[in-house]
Symmetry: C2
Subunit: 398 residues, 2 copies
C-alpha cells in the first residue's frame, strides 16, 4: 500500500526513540532518572479535580466547537492580568497547544510553502509543518552564542517568496532562551516588513527566572493581524494530560478559517475544559511558588552542568530545559551506552539527544536537551551521573 | 494576510449554520425541537463518571501517544465479542473518531489525490479530505433508491489514477442505510482489485434495528492490510464530550506512520481515556436497552414522516438519522422560514438541510437529514410540526 509523501517525510519522536533501551534497562533493575521529557512532577492544582468531581450533568455532551464560554472567559481574564485585552472571538480552545499549532499551520500553509524556525527547535514543529504540506527553513544558532536567533541578517537570509510565517517558542524549548523586548520587537518588525505571520509558542510563559514579566507578541497592537499565540494549560498548571490549549489571534479571518477545522473535529473534551477553567482561579501566588521551585532546579542543573569539563552551555532563562554541547562524539551513541553499559549504584539517566532538534543534517550531534522536571535531590544525583557518564565514556573512546 | 488554498476551499458546518436564526427564535420565546444534530439524549453510563471520580493521581500526566493500555485492552475485548481479533498494535486511541479519520487521511493522501465517498455523506469528511490536500469524488445515490451506493458500476466509474481510498459510514450518516453482507463484500473486492484503502466509519455500529449483527470490514481477513476502521465511544455510549475515538487497522506500516502524527500531538486526554475504558464494561445488555429505545424512535419518525404528502424516504436501518426528500423547493429557505416565520403553539423545529451533505453542486436541495435523538413524545410533536410546516410553506409558495 502507498502512503502519503508528507507522512513518509515525518519521523517518530527523537525524544521517545530510546524507550526500548530504557525498558530493557528497567527490566534489569536499573533506576533511570528522566531528564529526557518535559513531564513536570509538580502536582496539578486541586481545583482541576474538584471541578471534575462536581460535574453533575447526566449526559456528557459535545462542547461548542470554539470552546466552552467558561474556559474562554477564564483565559481572557488571565490575559487581562498581563495587560493584554482579548475578545471572546480571539480565543479558540484546542486539544492541547499541539492542535492549536496544527490548525494554525493548516490555515496558512499549502504544499511548497515554508516557515522559518530557529534551530534547535521542538521537533514536533516539523511534523505539523510537513503534514500541512510545508517545510521548515531553519535559522542556525550556536551553543557558543547561547542559541540567540533574533538577529535581523540571520532571519532575513532565510526569507524567500515561499515564506509564510516565523514560528518560535518563547521561553524556548529546547534552549531555555528568553527573548528580551528588543529581540521580540525585531521579530515583529521583520514579520511586518515581509508580510509574514508571527507564531509565538508561549506555553512556557510563566517559567521565566530573571524576575521579569515575559513580553508576549500579544502586546504589539501593530501586528494584531499577524500575531498567533499558541497557548496551553499543560505546563502552566502541570496538567499535561488534560490536553487543553488555545489558538489566540485577533485576526478574525484566521479565526473563521480555523473554525472550519474546529467544527469538523466537533469539539474539545468537555470535562477537561470545565476543569481547566477552574485552574485559572489558582492565581498568581501559584505561579510564584512553582516558579521559585523551578528557578532553584534551574540553578542546580546549570551549576552542576557548567562545571563538567568540556561542556558548553549558557544559563537558561526560562522554560524548564537546558541545551548543552557535551564533550562527546555523538549524543545518540552516548545515550545508548548510558542505558546499556553505564551504571553507578545501578542508576543511570535519560536525556534527549540534540540531532532531533535540528532540521540541518549533521547539526546537534554532540548536543543534548535536559529537562529539569525532577525534584532537587533527584536532579543533583542525575547530574552527578551525567558527569560520571561523560568521564567514563570519554575514557573508553579515548 | 494570505490563507491556505485548502482551508479556503473548506466550509463552515452546514449543520450549525442556522444557529443565529435559532438563537433569535429562542430569544423570542420560541421552543425549538432539535432534529438537526446527532447529540443523543441518552444518559452516559455511570461507569464513566465513577472512573473519573476514582482518579487519585496527584499529577495529571500525559498518556502514552498510542493510548492508555487499559483502554486499548477494553476495545480489543469488545471486538473479541464481535468475533474480530485485534492485537494491541492494531488499535490507536485518538481524540474522537474525527482525529482517527484526520490521521488516516493524512497518512495516505497528498495534494491532488482523491477519495471516493457515496453522497450524501457526513459533511466533515470534506474538511478532513481537503485539509489533507485531497478531494472527494462522490458516488451519486438517489432518495428514490434508498440511497444505495454499493453498486460495482457506480463505484468503478468514480475510480481513476488518483484514487487512494473508498470512505463510507456504515450504518450510514446521514442516510441511515446499513450495508448487507454482499454489499460490504463488494466494497472489499473493489478495494482489492483497484489497490485502494477501504475506510469504514463504524461509529454507529451498535445502532442497527433489523435484529442482525452489523458486518464490519474488520471481519475480512483478505483485506487486513487495506481496511481502516474509524471508531468512537461518542454515540455508542452517549459520551460525545469525552472525545475518545480509535484508529483500527492491522496494517502495521499505516499504524507506524500514524504514530508519527500521534507522537507530534503527544497524547489523548488521560481522564477521558480511563473513564472510556470503564464504559466498555457496560456490556451487551446496555446496547440492547439503548437499541430498543432508538428502534422505537426510528419507528415513530419513519411512520410520521412517510405519511406526510409528497415526502420520499426509506425506512432507515441503522444509526439515528433519516434522510428524506421533502415536497419543497429549497430546504435552507424552508429552515430559515421555520425559524423566522413559522410557529405552532410557539414551537418549531430545526433540521439539517440536505445540500451540505453533497459534494455535487445543486444536489440535495430539497432533502433534509433528521436526527432522532429526542424522547418519544418530543419526537412525535416535532414530526407534527414538520408536517404542519410543510403544509403552510407549500400554501405560501403555491
Amino acid at each position: 500500500m502507498r502512503f502519503s509523501k508528507k507522512v513518509q517525510e515525518c519521523s517518530l519522536s527523537p525524544i521517545r526513540k530510546f524507550y526500548p533501551y530504557a525498558e530493557e534497562a528497567k527490566r534489569q533493575g536499573k533506576r533511570i532518572y528522566h531528564l529526557n521529557i518535559g513531564q513536570p512532577d509538580v502536582e496539578t492544582p486541586r481545583a482541576f479535580f474538584d471541578a471534575v468531581q462536581n460535574f453533575a450533568q447526566p449526559v456528557l455532551a459535545y462542547a461548542p466547537s470554539p470552546g466552552l464560554p467558561v474556559l474562554i472567559e477564564a483565559v481572557i481574564q488571565y490575559y487581562e492580568q498581563l495587560g493584554i485585552h482579548y475578545e471572546p472571538g480571539d480565543v479558540t480552545v484546542t486539544t492541547g497547544g499541539s492542535e492549536a499549532l496544527s490548525i494554525a499551520l493548516n490555515c496558512i500553509l499549502d504544499d511548497g510553502d515554508e516557515i522559518i524556525v530557529p534551530e534547535p527547535f521542538y521537533p514536533n514543529y516539523n511534523t505539523f509543518a510537513r503534514i500541512a504540506g510545508a517545510h521548515i527553513r531553519p535559522v542556525e544558532t550556536r551553543p557558543e552564542e547561547g542559541y540567540r536567533f533574533a538577529i535581523r541578517e540571520k532571519i532575513e537570509a532565510a526569507i524567500n517568496a515561499n515564506t509564510r510565517a516565523i514560528l518560535f517558542s518563547n521561553p524556548g524549548n529546547p534552549t531555555g532562551t528568553v527573548l528580551d523586548e528588543s529581540e521580540l520587537r525585531l521579530l515583529a518588525d521583520i514579520a511586518k516588513e515581509h508580510d509574514l505571520f508571527l507564531i509565538g509558542d508561549e506555553v512556557y510563559r510563566e517559567f521565566v527566572y530573571g524576575g521579569e514579566q515575559l513580553t508576549s507578541i500579544g502586546q504589539y497592537g501593530d501586528i494584531a493581524e499577524r500575531a498567533i499565540i499558541i497557548d496551553s494549560v499543560s505546563k502552566r498548571f502541570s496538567a499535561c494530560g488534560a490536553r487543553i490549549g488555545m489558538l489566540i489571534t485577533r485576526n478574525k479571518e484566521l479565526q473563521q478559517h480555523a473554525m472550519k477545522i474546529c467544527q469538523a473535529r466537533l469539539s474539545v473534551a468537555t470535562l477537561d475544559q470545565i476543569a481547566s477553567a477552574a485552574l485559572y482561579s489558582a492565581g498568581s501566588g501559584y505561579f510564584d511558588t512553582v516558579r521559585a521551585e523551578y528557578r532553584q532546579r534551574r540553578d542546580t542543573i546549570y551549576q552542576k552542568l557548567s562545571v563538567i569539563p568540556g561542556v558548553i552551555c549558557s544559563e537558561p532563562k526560562g522554560a524548564f530545559y537546558v541545551m548543552a554541547k557535551l564533550p562527546i562524539d555523538d549524543a545518540e551513541k552516548f545515550q545508548t551506552w548510558m542505558l546499556q553499559e553505564f551504571s553507578d549504584g545501578n542508576e543511570t539517566i535519560m536525556l534527549a539527544p540534540g540531532a532531533g532538534f535540528y532540521a540541518t543534517p549533521g547539526r546537534g550531534r554532540d548536543e543534548v536537551r535536559l529537562a529539569y522536571v525532577l525534584k532537587q535531590s533527584d536532579l543533583e544525583r542525575a547530574m552527578d551521573l551525567l558527569a560520571l557518564g561523560i568521564h567514563e565514556y570519554r575514557n573508553l573512546n579515548r
